[in-house]
Assembly symmetry: C2
Homo-oligomer: 333 residues x 2
DNA sequence: GACCACGGTGAAAACGGTTCAATGTCGACA
DNA sequence: TGTCGACATTGAACCGTTTTCACCGTGGTC
């Protein structure tokens, strides 16, 4: 910077003013400084700037080390929005959602002076850990059930999504709808169960027992085998597309055709679920949008003192994507 | 730090020594300093350290803003290995693999003083852009075909994977194997084509024309429809699992049973490909391992001057995972 | 008993910016 | 013409580390 100043014939403070768009600098001087910067191809040292201003222009993301579809696609939404806002994104992943690992992740990010944190928080334990973040570090939680405590939250309306799916199957003419849920201790899973149960209840349909498992096809397959054995099940709402894939296979192996004998609806709208056999009717959630909203929220809270305004809870609406795996029940012969 | 020093009754330089495990400090003094640090819960300021040492203990990843399975799962492998080595990971994603966006990504990371960069580089354009990185910034390319120019490279042996797949189908008794390739300008795609062609050639089998498209199920479906119409095709090797999913659906719709009428083999071994209809025989590549290896390589090159040793090219072997989508051809009736 | 090597410690100068207070310059107004 | 004030620029302190160098006391050696 000193070199630039010398070349431009000003002092380094004036250069600093130019860089930071401070007012009191004559247009002609600014131009000269800019030219000097260009010819020396000067690049400001962000570490020094961070040291002086206590702002790193870096954001932290706490992710979940797994191949769950949602969290992964959110990263890109967040990163591209952050880039547009002049921030770099650092990630700290955690192997499981226990208190300890999340705490360590927060710590690591805080050490590196991130200005704020977006935490993928499908379970309350993450929020709890976030509470121990150094004061003054802005946090936003994404996912889960909107119980963000002191933190702003962004999430999909899981309950509404489940209602959409269940309603769709009911409207098709099914007497009731079975449900293969995700892990019982995940709020998102719970919300989907609720939306489903609520809809059945409102329609006066019987509410079958829920079966639950992990978010993957193996779980879906296992539960699907049980469901396939029961001739009374004609419609199944699955907590996500991977589970639906497993159920699809189970149905196929049991000789029950989809959608002729059994209708299936998923959740997520993963990239290729339109190519399952048969193409999966599912509930779409826009993860990239979720990421963008989370970032916008974080940015808005950055300057303010903590606890300035009550934490917002942004909810984005899911969308039903009808394909072929759900149809009207065929009359028994 | 000064406070810690005062509390421990030493000067801040001694504190610094303790932090950095320098030798010349008496055990008793060290203990006293440690105690002071604990009681003040002191945390060193990394920005200041970066400023002084020019080492940020942060690594950059250049990723590809898309939902391709490979790149995503690598991130976790890299991050957890980086964490173990005391590094934080920052990501810069690029929307497409053109020169300009990649250059900007490098630039952004460099501004933030990353110590090194791991670039997901499925296409040579990324390597080209990397060449313009500031001198002294260590870079490792992962993916592609090992043409890393001046950079060390980590990749899967795509050609070997393709040979494995093709060989498997040939051994099963198929007269020849068709291939649905990925984008023709992707080296990984090319390598798979080569491995496939080579194997057919060596076996004296006819080499059918290749059809190519994007890496997704839609492309697979489209090509699959054409293949399904040709009664001579009894075995298809797909460039990845998503393509295979599309082909599977095309075959199904055309009334050609898998594996009775047509055998299918994929590539990647995505999380749920074992639950496709039927479960997909595929070539497994360990992306997490790839990420770890890339990081290890980068770490090894960090200290050294650029061009110290010839760039290494780490190749990890893929593995055939036989499931049910590939079987011996059924005798025609 | 003097000298030396050495382990342990402290003082001060970087690292590259930001920012506050002070200075210089110039035009306007009384 | 002198004074005041706005504007532009400069000097210096500071952000929190690392690091070089000098210093001091101690124990071993001749």
């Amino acid at each position: 910077m000193r070199d630039v100043a010398k070349l431009a014939g000003v002092s380094h403070q004036t250069v600093s003013r130019v860089i930071n768009d401070h007012p009191n600098v004559r247009a002609e001087t600014r131009e000269r400084v800019l030219a000097a910067m260009r010819s020396l191809n000067y690049r400001r040292n962000l570490a020094a700037r961070t040291l002086a201003t206590r702002e790193s222009h870096t954001l932290g993301i706490i992710g979940f080390e797994t191949t769950l579809f949602g969290p992964e696609s959110m990263l890109y939404g967040i990163e591209s929005a952050a880039r547009a806002a002049g921030y770099l994104v650092s990630v700290a992943t955690v192997r499981d959602l226990a208190h300890r690992p999340v705490l360590e992740a927060v710590d690591r990010l805080a050490q590196h002076d991130v200005d704020g944190i977006i935490a993928i928080a499908p379970k309350p334990s993450v929020i709890m850990a976030l509470t121990h973040a150094p004061a003054g570090l802005a946090c936003v939680a994404v996912g889960g059930a909107g119980h963000g405590g002191p933190f702003p939250t962004v999430r999909v309306d899981n309950s509404a999504g489940a209602r959409l799916a269940t309603r769709h199957l009911l409207d098709l003419g099914h007497a009731t709808v079975h449900h293969v849920a995700g892990p019982p201790d995940w709020p998102e899973s719970q919300a989907r169960v609720e939306g489903w149960r609520e809809t059945l209840y409102a329609a006066g349909a019987v509410v079958p027992p829920v079966t639950a498992g992990w978010w993957d096809a193996a779980a879906g397959y296992e539960q699907g085998l049980r469901l396939a054995a029961d001739p009374k099940v004609t419609a199944v709402f699955c907590a996500n597309d991977r589970i639906a894939l497993g159920v699809l296979r189970a149905m196929h192996e049991a000789g029950r055709r989809v959608p002729q004998d059994v209708s299936i609806v998923g959740f997520d709208d993963m990239p290729d679920s339109g190519y399952f056999l048969p193409p999966l009717t599912t509930v779409h959630q826009d993860f990239a949008e979720l990421g963008r909203r989370a970032l916008a929220l974080l940015l808005r809270h950055l300057g303010r003192p903590p606890g300035d305004a009550p934490p917002e809870d942004v909810v984005v609406a899911p969308l039903l994507v009808p394909r072929v795996s759900a149809a009207a029940p065929y009359p028994r012969h």
